[in-house]
């Protein structure tokens, strides 16, 4: 049985295109053109019928998609990938802090959306499934249970803060983490405005992990929003596309 995705998009052409693209990837796509339609489908889908992921466009004819996001978050931890129409970093941050898992900005490529969906599904229900503890990609090995970081064959020593920052990103590898979330999780709630801490520690981490720190391949900057650790090479066994 395929993973079930609710696609909330009011533009007909984009809805059809995305439905086809996601169907080709093997997902069971249920399109919805409005907030009302999406709410109805969500309330009908219970138990084994429930959705595995939401793709949510924000500008809908009968209201703002963020209202639906808040509604969904009150009931479940289903992953939500937001389609944002504007280059409004403030809005993206608000949505991510309100519980959205990731976002794409129009115009986006199908590949980009698929990558976001894949990562969001992998991290879905982290409260239930075992948390991500290992990260491997292009010579970088991070093991959170052993507290070890190996880069291109040699062990790398990190300060406690550097390690906590990296560990936070590893737990949601592939997903964007806002400045606020990172600062709150690593330094504490009273540090959420100290973005200059992030700049300095991220530079130190990059110097230790990246081949070319000025052109990072692992620790990416999402300008104005936050940071993203690039997806690991081989997804863990619990995050394949199909349910068994």
């Amino acid at each position: 049985m395929s993973l079930k995705i609710l696609l909330v998009e009011d533009d007909r052409d984009l809805r059809y295109t995305l439905r086809d693209a996601l169907s080709v990837e093997g997902y069971d796509v249920r399109p919805a053109a409005s907030l009302a339609d999406a709410s109805a489908q969500l309330s009908l889908a219970t138990g084994s019928q429930r959705f595995d992921l939401l793709v949510l466009d924000l500008g809908l004819p009968d209201g703002d998609g963020s209202a639906l996001l808040a509604h969904v978050r009150r009931q479940s931890m289903v992953p939500v990938v937001v389609i944002s129409a504007q280059h409004d970093e403030g809005q993206k941050i608000r949505l991510l802090d309100a519980g959205a898992d990731d976002y794409v900005t129009k115009p986006f490529s199908v590949g980009e959306l698929l990558a976001r969906i894949r990562v969001a599904l992998r991290h879905r229900g982290t409260a239930l499934s075992p948390a991500v503890t290992r990260y491997e990609r292009e010579g970088v090995h991070i093991d959170l249970t052993q507290r070890t970081v190996h880069v291109r064959g040699s062990a790398v020593h990190l300060t406690p803060t550097e390690y906590q920052l990296l560990a936070r990103l590893v737990r949601t590898a592939g997903q964007v983490v806002t400045h606020r979330q990172l600062l709150a999780d690593v330094w504490g709630a009273e540090f959420v405005d100290h973005t200059h801490y992030l700049r300095l520690y991220m530079a130190q981490l990059r110097a230790k992990i990246e081949v070319e720190p000025a052109e990072p391949c692992f620790l990416l900057t999402e300008t104005g929003v936050g940071y993203r650790l690039v997806e690991a090479d081989t997804p863990p066994a619990d995050a394949v596309h199909m349910r068994s």
């Binding site: 300060t159 406690p160 700049r199 300095l200 991220m202 000025a214 052109e215 300008t223 104005g224």
Partner: protein, 498 residues
């Protein structure tokens, strides 16, 4: 009182001199005293005091004493001389005193007008202008307390905006006064029975308003007082006119600016959007109609073309929207501490997609400080500059991105080895919708004008500068300078390794 005292002293001195000097000399203190009172008393009183002095002298000292008759001709002459001299001196002194007082008053008025003018120049609103006038009227020594209610003609040409409480009668008084540009009320010769004074706030040709003056003290009827008040009112009238003129000018400038922006965006849409759209339509329709007769390589090339052109359109749209957004009057930047390395890293990540040969080289000085800026905007600026450099220079030449500290500034420079910019165009290329001349002839190069205008605007909203410089061995260099502020402290207590 002082006058009376001097007069008495003079009289006593005259009595004291009795019998010691001759009659003529004995009269002198009295003559002097009578004249001196002119310093304090009004003219009529001073004159009267001289008459009294002469009559008393005659009564007490001139033979026969105790009567006004004069027996000797010489005494008659003395009395006449004494009278003429004391009256003459008293009147002259009094007149002099009056002139001095008028001069003082005029100087005061000039000073007051000057102060009011100064105040009006600094006033920022019509309310402040009116407060200035009320304060100046109250400062007039002649008036006890007065309240001024100002009415101005603003926006609507036929309606007065009254800044204070007035009765219906007073409102019509203000309207008449403003419309006719003439004062009315007591002392003005028009509507003398009115309880309050109305003064027009006269501008150059018409009166932009009028003022109503209620005073609790003496009525302000003296002609020179009225003239002074009118002068103050005229200052206010001119100030209101000036303010209105500058407001109109600002509005006109804003309108022209909006118009220009609209035209620019329209021009960008009509010009820069057509070519990508035509290319996309060409490639897509070709795929639709000829797909079965194409090789897979040809199909892929068409698909790549569509993707490239769509990205180009997307960047154009981003630029146009950002330019419009930055132009809004209540612009708010999302500034934060940013690392130059991180900013340029984000730019390079995007640029690499359109730079498969990796022509872009980064030279980043070590240990750069953080800068306060809106990351999205600075990234967009650098992306535009690098994009332009890649587009406007030959495919086999490098594009260099240099970031280093230069005094109190952070320098971010993007240089290429292309043809550079003609000196005739260097001044205008940052203006809206200009384009390097070579762009017109060279294929595949479009839309730099909007981008450069946006870059300049982004630099400006950050308080920075963006300048063009021709490179020594050929090529263009665009240099962005951002101010470096003292960075905030970071508590790095955990330097021990994990």
């Amino acid at each position: 009182v002082a006058g009376l005292l001097v007069w008495c002293v003079g009289a006593l001195a005259t009595v004291g001199l009795q019998g010691r000097v001759d009659l003529g000399s004995q009269a002198m203190p009295l003559v002097l005293a009578a004249a001196a009172v002119g310093l304090w008393w009004p003219r009529v009183w001073a004159g009267a005091s001289c008459v009294v002095a002469v009559l008393m002298f005659n009564w007490f000292f001139v033979t026969p004493r105790g009567s006004f008759t004069v027996s000797f001709q010489r005494d008659m002459l003395l009395l006449c001389t004494m009278f003429a001299a004391s009256v003459g001196v008293a009147l002259l002194v009094a007149r002099q005193r009056q002139l001095a007082s008028i001069q003082r008053q005029q100087a005061d008025q000039v000073r007051q007008l000057h102060a009011l003018g100064q105040q009006l120049r600094q006033a920022e609103s019509i309310h402040e202008v009116c407060q200035g006038l009320t304060a100046a009227l109250n400062a007039l020594a002649l008036v006890d307390v007065c309240t001024a209610v100002v009415a101005v003609q603003q926006n609507a040409p036929d309606a007065l905006q009254v800044l204070g409480p007035v009765s219906p009668d007073e409102h019509s008084g203000l309207t008449i006064c403003q419309a006719q540009s003439m004062p009315l009320g007591p002392g003005t010769g028009r509507y003398e029975n009115q309880p309050v004074l109305y003064m027009p706030l006269r501008g150059r040709s018409k009166s932009p308003g009028a003022v109503l003056i209620r005073s609790t003290g003496l009525p302000l009827t003296a002609p020179d007082t009225l003239a002074h008040i009118q002068a103050m009112c005229d200052l206010v009238g001119q100030a209101i006119e000036r303010e209105e003129a500058s407001r109109h000018a600002t509005e006109a400038r804003q309108l022209a600016h909006d118009q220009k922006l609209r035209n620019t965006l329209l021009a960008a849409v009509s010009h820069d959007y057509r070519t990508p759209l035509a290319t996309i339509l060409g490639a897509a329709s070709s795929l639709q109609e000829q797909s079965d007769r194409m090789s897979s390589a040809q199909r892929q090339r068409h698909v790549d073309t569509v993707m490239d052109e769509v990205r180009q359109l997307s960047r154009l749209t981003d630029n146009a929207l950002q330019l419009a957004r930055l132009d809004a009057p209540n612009l708010r930047l999302l500034t934060d501490w940013q690392s130059p390395e991180e900013l340029v890293g984000a730019v390079l990540r995007r640029v690499r997609m359109r730079d498969p040969q990796r022509r872009t080289h980064l030279r980043l000085a070590p240990g750069l400080p953080l800068v306060r800026c809106d990351a999205t905007l600075v990234v967009q600026l650098l992306e535009n500059l690098i994009d332009n450099a890649l587009k406007y220079s030959p495919d086999d030449t490098p594009v260099e991105v240099v970031i280093r500290q230069q005094g109190h500034h952070l320098l971010l420079a993007v240089g290429d080895r292309g043809p550079g910019v003609l000196w005739q165009q260097q001044a205008s290329m940052f203006e809206l919708f200009e384009r390097g001349q070579h762009g017109v002839h060279q294929e595949g190069i479009r839309g730099a004008g909007l981008g450069l205008a946006l870059c300049k605007t982004i630099a400006q909203v950050h308080g920075g500068t963006l300048v063009y410089r021709s490179r020594k061995r050929g090529g263009a260099s665009f240099e962005l300078r951002l101010m470096i502020e003292p960075s905030p402290m970071v508590d790095t207590h955990d330097e021990a390794s994990a």
